[in-house]
Symmetry: C2
Subunit: 362 residues, 2 copies
């Protein structure tokens, strides 16, 4: 396999509220050390290194998050950080990042990776991604990775694909994508899981820059003016011109704006221990647990207490007679939450936003 | 009623472990601001002021607690602080405190008050205590106050008394005490409550110094050598002599060493909103609660959360989907405890004592 020109595009933005009070507006999930030893953004960068060297890495985020990312990755050159002129979902951001690669080398392969996912089996991840890169280099396709579903999740988008028509490409099997599906209701999710034809949408994509430009023109012609303006602004223009160009693109996800309209989309099984680390309770599946099922960062003393998740590093937490609790100590704010209700953390954050005297806890 | 020479003796020692992690070895319950606005010791001193001026107050505690007490009460003269030479329960401490009064004026009335109780109705308390002082001044009796029981508590000692033989003395009714009873088992507690002849032992006592000396000689002759040695050490001797004298007294409570043996003990109803504030969950009955039944020091945000007690001053606590929880944030340690199991906080402290690397949290 010849050496490919691979460009990693890491989506380093995102403003999740589900990890409050540790995750804050000024320090979202990808900057937290909750899943592995290091912040998830750093682990994402490290994970992709075998495929794309640092000089071929681009981190896309808004200005504030870019400042955080540069502090975290001081050795990456300034050019690696691409600041979104506006917060407009992933379609404009990925058009911008891809256009920049396209101007440099239309044959370069772009690998798009969210910065806030956990991958447990890194070797398998690299192998799968390498196959995807090979597939995208050889054929005029979009490549994505579907996570084999383990339960009828309603919190993810799904990819329907044809398992009867798999083809081996670059060491892995790729299936034609039939449809991208929004987050299902519980009945649909049951159906999806039972059918065997659906995988969770991981939000990871691989494409050749030139193929992206072609498919965009053919399958999403409404994006053409924005694409042209972005390319023109990158060629000759300042921040203001780029900002105007960016604003021409719809504030949509790339899935919605382009992927689901395009033909020639392939999916491989993303069987590498993926987790989107969607809420505090997910960490109960990720962190090591003690004999009582408690997962603790910090010191803990449990009396008749089971299956609790505790974040209180450097301090002692005593748990007495409690079960399935999430306990997060974050300096100025403390969260005590039933693990089954951790989706309500978003409601807490909403209340903080609405209540002026509580704004400081955002 | 003529002006009596009243001496308040406040038992300022005690090393409760039930308010961990806020209460520590170096800062026990009476120094915490948990029941009222001020530490309980300060509130005890303030409460007794209408009956005994500052110069007639004695605070008994060990050396470390005396240092804390002096910081808390900088205006009290040095002589008000009586350091126990050894930690030996209340009998030796009260013999020492009473001997000091006795040497000064055998007719002085000593009012003994624990420093870690809550009294909600202070006016009534002062009225009741004044009657007790008057009774002790007029008759050769020990006076105590029994708390009318509201439930079959197993955590208190009880006083059996003869309700058919009440006598009015100094504005209140006093009943002859028939027996002091240790903490009962649940069946006994039910019996005590049903009979109407029992009250909770509040640990408050009133006696004339001379009457104390007499009754001690008559009813607890085994205490006589210690009493004589203490008196002698106070008259002429240093710390070493006092320490040896103190060590002659048995390490027993005054109830056990003297009260339950003595004749001529009267009890009045202590109907002044007493609470011994025995554990965290007691505060759920004392602190104001919000509409959801949560009692909070600090800022709180509750979503589907009820009947929780939160100590986290100056910070935000978010409670989601939890009930009957005790949440205590104390800097280096955090307690999350089912309110029904708060007696297990003692077990936590025992574990801290046994575990060397956790000693720092004591």
């Amino acid at each position: 396999m010849k050496e490919r020109d691979v460009r990693a595009v890491i989506l380093a933005g995102g403003r999740g509220t589900r990890f409050w009070p540790l995750g804050r507006a000024a320090k979202p999930k990808q900057f937290l050390r909750i899943a592995g030893r290091d912040p998830m953004l750093l682990e994402t960068v490290r994970r992709i290194r075998p495929l794309a060297p640092a000089r071929r890495m681009t981190l896309v985020a808004d200005a504030a998050q870019t400042r955080l990312a540069r502090k975290l990755l001081p050795r990456l050159p300034k050019e690696s950080f691409l600041v979104e002129p506006l917060a407009r979902n992933t379609a404009p951001a990925l058009m911008l990042a891809t256009a920049r690669v396209w101007l440099d080398n239309p044959e370069a392969v772009v690998a798009v990776l969210p910065a806030d996912h956990l991958i447990r089996d890194e070797a398998r991840f690299v192998k799968t991604l390498r196959a995807g890169i090979e597939a995208a280099a050889r054929e005029r396709v979009f490549v994505t990775f579907g996570i084999p579903p383990t339960y009828p999740a309603t919190g993810y988008g799904y990819i329907r694909h044809d398992r009867g028509r798999g083809r081996k490409l670059g060491g892995d099997i790729f299936y034609p994508v039939q449809a991208f599906k929004e987050k299902p209701n519980p009945a649909q999710a049951d159906e999806y899981l039972a059918s065997g034809d659906y995988a969770w949408n991981s939000g990871m994509f691989v494409w050749r820059a030139g193929v992206f430009a072609e498919k965009l023109a053919v399958f999403a012609p409404d994006l053409k003016p924005a694409w042209a303006a972005i390319v023109s602004a990158l060629r000759s223009g300042g921040a203001a011109k780029l900002r105007s160009a960016f604003a021409l693109a719809p504030a949509l996800s790339i899935d919605y704006a382009l992927m689901e309209k395009a033909e020639g989309v392939l999916v491989a099984d993303g069987d590498f221990g993926w987790s989107d680390v969607g809420a505090w309770s997910t960490l109960l599946e990720i962190w090591p647990r003690d004999g009582e099922g408690n997962a603790v960062r910090g010191e803990a003393l449990a009396l008749d207490a089971k299956d609790c998740l505790v974040w209180n590093p450097g301090r002692l937490t005593a748990l007495v007679g409690v079960r399935n609790l999430i306990v997060i100590e974050a300096g100025d704010a403390l969260l005590i939450c039933d693990a089954a209700l951790d989706q309500k953390v978003k409601d807490i954050v909403d209340t903080l936003k609405r209540t002026k005297k509580l704004n400081k806890y955002l």
